[in-house]
């Protein structure tokens, strides 16, 4: 069942009949809340444009006398932030593509084929969803070390190459594809891989884009695993880079905030552009989950 669209004011007349004081109070409370939600970001942006001496003035000086854009230039030139950024982008995009492939294939397999052990395999996959990463981190690290993947892009991407949540999401979607459609293609002599790529994938665009959003977001934010496998600066991703910057130059607040802002920007842009998909993806998964 698809999530109901959000913009249905008439279907949900709600509690407050019309304007009046109740409504005004609601706006004020929601407005204060919204300001509190955005304040940390404003503080970050403001601090990133200050001199070191201006950071801790009382009262807080929201707009510095002179905007120090060179904090950004210095931070990006003197520290390999651009490099971390590219690593993050590469890892997040690779992991997302891998997941789109493995999860849609496995979801299709579990939804549309009958073979011995299918339900057992699907059940096992679902059960892995509740294993906390911390509970398997030691052997996982040993496996990756024995493969020679510590400090390599392999180690950062391949172990994250599939997800139980993704398989579940794709299977639920693929159950809705009519069997007749697939059988018709078989009668026409299409091979199974061709049916998958030519019919099933194009019909799954919405589910695939939801999955892509989730996987990209999780992996852009990923920290615990890269912390272990990327010990060399060459392979560090942005979250690791920021944590490292924080622990080594943590008192250079303007530059630290500049770096944080740069790190935040791509996700913020993706979110603002795709926010309807973001929220629908979340809604869909929560209702189905």
């Amino acid at each position: 069942m698809a999530a109901p669209p959000f913009h249905h004011p008439l279907r949900h007349p709600g509690r407050l009949r019309s304007g009046g004081w109740g409504h005004l109070a609601l706006y004020i409370v929601l407005g204060i809340g919204a300001v509190l939600m955005l304040l940390p970001f404003a503080y970050m942006l403001s601090t990133s444009l200050k001199t070191l001496g201006e950071v801790f003035t009382t009262p807080v000086q929201w707009i510095p006398k002179e905007l120090r854009w060179d904090n950004y230039v210095t931070a990006l030139r003197e520290h390999p932030i651009g490099h971390y950024f590219r690593n993050s982008l590469f890892v997040a995009v690779s992991v997302t593509l891998l997941n789109l492939l493995t999860c849609s294939l496995a979801g299709y397999s579990f939804a549309k084929f009958r073979y011995r052990g299918r339900n057992l395999l699907f059940g096992t996959v679902l059960a892995t969803m509740m294993i906390p990463l911390a509970s398997m981190i030691i052997p996982l690290f040993i496996v990756v070390r024995d493969l020679g993947w510590v400090d390599s892009y392999w180690g950062l991407t391949i172990p994250a190459g599939t997800s139980a949540f993704g398989i579940f999401l794709m299977r639920q979607h693929m159950l809705t594809i009519p069997d007749d459609l697939l059988d018709a293609a078989r009668l026409d002599g299409s091979s199974e891989p061709r049916i998958f790529f030519g019919i099933v994938v194009p019909m799954s665009k919405t589910a695939l884009s939801s999955l892509a959003i989730f996987i990209f977001m999780w992996n852009w934010d990923s920290f615990f695993w890269p912390l272990l496998v990327a010990t060399d600066d060459q392979y560090r991703t942005l979250p690791l880079g920021i944590a490292l910057f924080e622990s080594s130059y943590g008192t250079n607040y303007p530059q630290l905030m500049a770096v944080a802002f740069v790190a935040m920007l791509p996700v913020l842009i993706v979110f603002l552009v795709l926010q309807r998909n973001f929220i629908e993806a979340l809604t869909m998964s929560s209702i189905k989950g």
């Binding site: 615990f224 944590a243 979340l282 929560s286």
Partner: protein, 313 residues
């Protein structure tokens, strides 16, 4: 289509029999393909999930320094963590974190969802603003909040000093450090649950609430006797997601306090990480991992049971 039909007509009965045989093997072939489609994901799971978790259980009965080969010690690791005050602290801190963070988060998120499920204007803008922290990276927000909690940072200068409260050492005070991380987490998490509750509320047919309204029920009665019961699956879902993610929290403690001061913000996952990769006691860390695994498993299974009994009972 056309060609198959004509071919069938031309070949007659003999060919039809050959075709039936062909179709049988064809079905087998198809399902073999079906299985093959699952193989890439299954291989990844086997190597990077199933084997590691099984190995964790195994290693929890060994003395293992991550570097040297494991040496069997029976239940010693479990006896050790049972009597280890540090482990008790991290267990306590994790549960404290979950309760102090998620109970306010759930209440605030539900109130926000109720407020945004009305006819007010600009609801889309409010929803977007409250959701922004959710999509931000934990590391980035931890770095920002570390500055906010600074002795001369935003919280002390803008909010506390005007009401006459002197500057507090939020991240180095034994009492305040856990609360500081809780405050950050409430801010970060509330938007997620708001959207979940909003979806749940919009799944409730408006006829129900309308009918109750017409019958003269007050807003509070509608909420208590109609909205809340119908929202139960959503509430259950939120409880599990909150507990499961909250018990695995790691980044803010790692970035902002490193578990300190004096283990005040040492949570389970951070304890496991440090025990394994800083103190190189893989056996003990494995035993702790097994405990974490069972806590999460119990939480998930209890939810599953509740869900079932609500659905069919």
């Amino acid at each position: 289509m056309q060609t198959t039909q004509t071919a069938e007509l031309r070949a007659g009965p003999q060919h039809a029999q050959g075709r039936r045989q062909f179709r049988l093997t064809h079905l087998q072939k198809r399902n073999l393909w079906g299985f093959a489609f699952a193989v890439p994901a299954l291989c990844l799971f086997a190597l990077f999930s199933i084997y590691p978790i099984a190995r964790t259980f195994f290693l929890s009965f060994f003395d293992y320094s991550v570097v040297d080969p494991p040496r069997p010690v029976g239940l010693e690791n479990y006896q050790q963590i049972l009597g280890d005050p540090r482990f008790h602290t991290s267990l306590f801190n994790s549960f404290r974190y979950v309760i102090f963070t998620y109970i306010p988060v759930w209440i605030l998120a539900l109130l926000l969802a109720l407020a945004l499920n009305t006819r007010i204007k600009a609801r889309a803008i409010f929803r977007t603003i409250y959701f922004v922290p959710v999509v931000m990276s934990w590391v980035v927000v931890s770095v920002i909040w570390k500055l906010i909690f600074h002795r001369n940072g935003l919280l002390n200068t803008m909010f506390l000093s005007p009401v006459g409260i002197g500057p507090q050492n939020w991240l180095t005070d034994l009492q305040l450090a856990p609360d500081a991380i809780v405050i950050l987490s409430i801010w970060k998490e509330v938007g997620f649950f708001m959207v979940v509750f909003l979806a749940g509320l919009q799944n409730i047919p408006s006829d129900f609430t309308e009918a109750a309204r017409v019958d003269g029920s007050s807003s509070l009665q509608v909420f208590r006797y109609i909205t809340l019961p119908l929202l139960q699956p959503t509430i259950l879902f939120s409880t599990v997601i909150g507990l499961v993610t909250g018990l695995q929290i790691f980044i803010p403690q790692f970035v902002m306090t490193q578990g300190g001061p004096v283990d005040a913000t040492l949570v389970l996952t951070l304890d496991i990480y440090q025990t394994a990769f800083v103190f190189l006691d893989g056996g003990k860390a494995s035993a702790m991992s097994v405990v974490l695994f069972f806590i999460i498993a119990v939480v998930t299974l209890v939810q599953f049971r509740l869900y079932r009994s609500r659905a069919y009972g």
